[in-house]
Each structure stands twice: as structure tokens, then as C-alpha cells.
Amino acid sequence: MTVVVTPPQDGALRRVSDVLIARPGLLLMLLLTPPLLWLGVVYLGALFALLAQSFFSIDEFSGTIVYQPTLATYAELLAPANLDIIVRTLVVAAVVTVLAALVAFPIAYYAARYARGKVKALFYLAVMMPLWSSYLVKVYAWKLLLAKEGAVTWLVQAAGLTKILDLWLAAPLVGGPSLSVSYTGMVLTFLYLWTPFMILPLQASLERVPATLIEASDDLGAAPRQTFRHVILPLAAPGLIAGAIFTFSLTLGDYIVPQIVGPSSLILGQAVYAEQGNAGNVPLAAAFCVAPIAIMFVFLALARRTGALDAL
């Protein structure tokens, strides 16, 4: 380190510094005030303003918001059509989360336990690059791939598996006229988008599993399957929960993917978007938002109890 010769300062600056060092509480307050003001006013303020609106209702004839506290909007939220949307979205989010965990685990495990030096750096970059590259470009890539005349169909044909693809598309629920307008396509796109968000926390928690524990389990006669089930998996749980926070939250809030790839029935993000946009029903949109907020708070509480937030 270079030697920095700066004479001790005198005067006001020094006195301010002395006061701050003598009173760490004051320093802390000065440091925290700007970011807290920003998030408190801009973010929480807006969030509460939105939630407050969910207790208003909309006048069906004039389409204007009636500023009278009511639970009518929540009753509307529980109507079968809207409940359907919430349940459908939760199922999609859950499927995406489970699949993401399955795809992520081998990558995270290899990177944490076997990769060293250059290979490890490469693994890290191989996860970071897709994670940070443009969201829309990634969605677009799947639109290209899944298009009827696109690469997936071509590959399936080349492999002689057209029959299997047709059977899959004919199946209820997962199928559809083509991959790009089916739940399969939507889940694949979500899976592609969110898997890196699962890998990073999972890898972080796997790094903390001491190799000696795994060896001990082996020495004591556990089969690899048993070691995985009773040693690795419980210790990786915080990472899995942290990853699930992302896969869930991102799926619940997305309204672009289902618009571009996927069937015509709405999922939650689209419903919120439609209600506040064309329908102009901000109270119902706000009530819709309560569902993901509640789910995410359950997740965050769970994450705090298991220490998963440290794995973020």
C-alpha cells in the first residue's frame, strides 16, 4: 500500500468527525436515512397506497372508483373465475420451481463439490451469463425455438420422434395446437428464465456442506441415495428455499411470458395487468396483488427461520 501523508485536519470537519465517532448511533442514523427514506416513501408508500385501494370498489356503471371502505372487491377475487387464475398460477409456479430445482441441482452440486480453479470460474460464468442476459431476448429465443416451423419441431422430426410430440400435444392440460401456445411451452420458457436463480443460492448452500460429513456418511455404510436424502438434501434446504423465493416470485409476477408463449387462459400477472389497464379496475388488480404478496411473505418468513436469506 502506498503511504498517504495527510496532515491531521483541524476545524469544523474534524469536529464533525469526532462527534460522529463518539456517537455511532447518530452516524448510523445519518447513513440509513437516505436509503430508508427512498424505499420507505417511494416503495412502501406506493405499495400501501395500492393495498389500500383493494378495500375500495368500482362502480359498475360509471367505471369510477368508489372511495368507500368495503370488502366487496375481495369477494369478487374469490369468484370462481378469479380463484381459477390464482390456483392455475400457483400450479405453474410450483411445477416451474420443482423442475428448476431438478435442473439446477446437478449443476450446483458439480460446481460446489468437484469443480476447481478455472473450471469453477467457468461454471460460475456459465450461470451468471444467462442469468443476467436480457429477459426479453431470452423469451424471444423460446418463441423462435417453439414456433411450429422452428428448431424444436425440426429436431424432433430429425430424431424421428414426431409421434411422441403429437401425443404430448394431444394430451389434456399440457398440450395444445402447438408447443408455443401450450402450458408445456410456457413452463419451458419460465424454467429457462429462472433456473440460474435457483442454481446460485443452491450452490452457495452446497458449498457449506462439509465434505467430511459426506465421507462420514459413506464410511458408516450409507448408500449414495441415503447420503443424498439424509445428509445433503437437509443441508441444502436453505438454498432450495432461497431459490424457490425467486422462481415463485418471478413466475407469480410475470405477465409477458404467458402473453408471448402459452395458452390463452390468463395467469395472475396477466390478470393484474388486464384489470388495471383496459378494465380500469385498480381495486381488483390491487386485491389480486395481495395473493403473491401473502405467498412471498410466507416464503420470506420460512426463509428467515431456516437462514435461507444468507444464501441469497
Binding site: M1, T6, Q9, R14, V16, S17, I21, L28, L32, P34, P35, L36, W38, L39, V42, A46, L47, A49, L50, V103, A104, Y110, A112, Y114, R116, F123, Y124, L125, A126, M129, P130, W132, S133, S134, Y135, L136, V137, K138, V139, Y140, W142, L144, E149, G150, A151, T153, T195, L200, Q203, E207, A211, I245, G253, D254, I256, V272, C289, I293, M296, L309
Partner: protein, 284 residues
């Protein structure tokens, strides 16, 4: 969000592992997973050269450089790009300032409510983007604030703070407190210590966080659709093309350009924080 904490090599943490060779099944599964993460973007690259402009036919019937010239001459793309960069620069600057302050306050101090405050910083990325977007929009409506450049920045800075915060907090935690004490013992006041000891130690983590914040803002579309009004950032331009395609090959070219533009800050951030593993005093 990825933080520095996630990328410290195991060796640096003292967990010496003598793992044997990895099982074949694991190699295959990890390889297939990585292929799944990378191949789709390669297709975008290929399609930018396709001379078929009506469909996404695969394999492309022929290859051409023509679309790069066509995209270059489109003023609407340049305008959207300029707006995106202006928004990202200012949002990043705000995020670096606020994120660094928050990290400095929360990295070591223990006080009542600390956990709730750190939760507050995570909240903008833990809650779905659409919630942030619609909240801001309805708040702007209630307060009768017209949509402008600044409403976009307001939204972006909010979720960019956490990226900088995560990077800076990890660095602050690794920074040995004895460095600060030594500086003070040697007669430096708080500001000198900050200028000559603290700032040089955390600068790269702030820069790395800032680069990631830039990439995040440059690319953001979900919150932006709610706060932009009639303005078009590059992602909003692209979203429009995805929903109602006008000239598919031009979109392909823009997609390739966006991949390249976002790759640079990500790589730079990686190299900055990688060197950060050797921060003075990190070894306790």
C-alpha cells in the same frame, strides 16, 4: 440476487475437500443443464443472419448480413436505446449511493429492527415485479404525477439498490475492522479513514454492483411498462415487436446487440469482484 458471498471459492473458506472423480451421471446431468441454459441464445445469433423474414423457419434457408444495415438505419431503435442508457446511468448512480449507505449501516451494526430493515431492501426483488410496477403507477396516478423520464428512473433505482447493497455488504463483512481502527489510531479522522481506507477497499464492489445494476436497469421491462407512459425504452420497443412483429429480422439483430451490450458489464463485474477476494484484511 447473486452476491459476492455466493462466489467465494470453497478453498478460500477453508473447507478443504478431497473429492474424488465425479460420477458419470452427475457429469451428464450438469452438462445437459448447462446446454439447456446456453443453446437457446445461440439460436438467436443464428437467426440474425437468416434471410427468411416472414417466419422462424429452421434451418434458415440462407444467410445474409443485410439486416444489420437495416437495423442500423432505424431511428426509432436509436431513440429507444438512448433513453434506456440515460435511464440506466442515472438509476445506477442513485442505486450506488443509496446501496452503499445502506450496506455501510447494516453490515456490522446490531440494533433493534435491523432485520426488518434488511428485509425492506430485499423486498423490491422478492416481491413480483408487477406488484412494484402497479404500486408505482397507482401512486403516480393518485398524486397526479405525469409519466416522464424521472418516473422510469424512480422505479428502476428502487430495485437496483438491492444489487449494489448485496455486493457492498459482502465486501464490508470481509473487511477487517482492525483496518479502520489502525487508521484511527494513526491519527486519521473519520473522513480521512473513509477516503483513504474504506473507499479503496469497497470501491470495486460498488463498481461491480453498479455494473450489474446497469445491466438490470437496461433490460427491465415489467416495471417499466407501468412507469413509462408513452416513452419507449429499448426493452419496451422490443416487447412491442414481440407482440406485434413488424420486421422480424430487425428484432433478431437488436436481440443480438442487446446480448452483447449486457454481456460486457456482467463480465466486467465478475472480474472486479473476483479480484476482490484478496481484499486487505480479508483473512482476519
Amino acid at each position: 440476487m447473486p452476491s459476492e458471498a455466493g462466489k467465494a471459492p470453497a478453498a478460500a473458506r477453508g473447507t478443504a475437500k478431497q473429492a474424488g472423480r465425479s460420477p458419470l451421471g452427475l457429469n451428464l446431468a450438469a452438462g445437459a443443464g448447462l446446454a439447456f441454459l446456453h443453446l437457446p441464445l445461440a439460436f438467436i445469433l443464428l437467426y440474425a443472419f437468416s434471410d427468411e423474414d416472414k417466419s422462424f423457419q429452421f434451418p434458415p434457408p440462407g444467410l445474409t448480413f443485410r439486416w444489420f444495415g437495416v437495423a442500423w438505419d432505424r431511428p426509432d431503435i436509436w431513440e429507444a436505446l438512448a433513453l434506456s442508457i440515460r435511464v440506466a446511468l442515472v438509476s445506477t448512480a442513485l442505486a450506488i449511493l443509496l446501496g452503499a449507505l445502506a450496506a455501510a449501516a447494516l453490515s456490522r451494526a446490531k440494533f433493534f429492527g435491523r432485520d426488518s430493515i434488511s428485509l425492506l431492501f430485499i423486498l423490491p426483488i422478492a416481491l413480483p415485479g408487477i406488484v412494484t410496477g402497479i404500486s408505482l403507477r397507482s401512486a403516480f396516478n393518485l398524486m397526479e404525477i405525469p409519466f416522464s423520464y424521472w418516473t422510469i428512473v424512480l422505479g428502476h433505482a428502487t430495485f437496483c439498490i438491492v444489487v449494489v447493497y448485496n455486493n457492498a455488504v459482502a465486501r464490508f463483512r470481509r473487511l477487517s475492522p482492525s483496518l479502520v481502527e489502525a487508521s484511527m489510531d494513526l491519527g486519521a479522522d473519520g473522513f480521512q479513514t473513509f477516503r483513504h481506507v474504506l473507499l479503496p477497499s469497497i470501491a470495486t464492489s460498488l463498481l461491480a454492483g453498479g455494473l450489474l445494476a446497469f445491466a438490470l436497469s437496461f433490460d427491465e421491462v415489467i416495471v417499466t411498462t407501468f412507469t413509462a407512459g408513452q416513452q419507449r425504452t429499448l426493452p419496451i420497443w422490443m416487447l412491442g415487436e414481440l407482440i406485434r412483429p413488424h420486421q422480424r429480422p430487425v428484432t433478431n439483430v437488436v436481440a443480438v446487440a442487446v446480448i452483447l451490450v449486457t454481456a460486457i458489464p456482467i463480465l466486467a463485474a465478475y472480474y472486479l469482484t473476483r479480484e476482490g477476494e484478496h481484499v486487505a484484511g480479508a483473512g482476519k
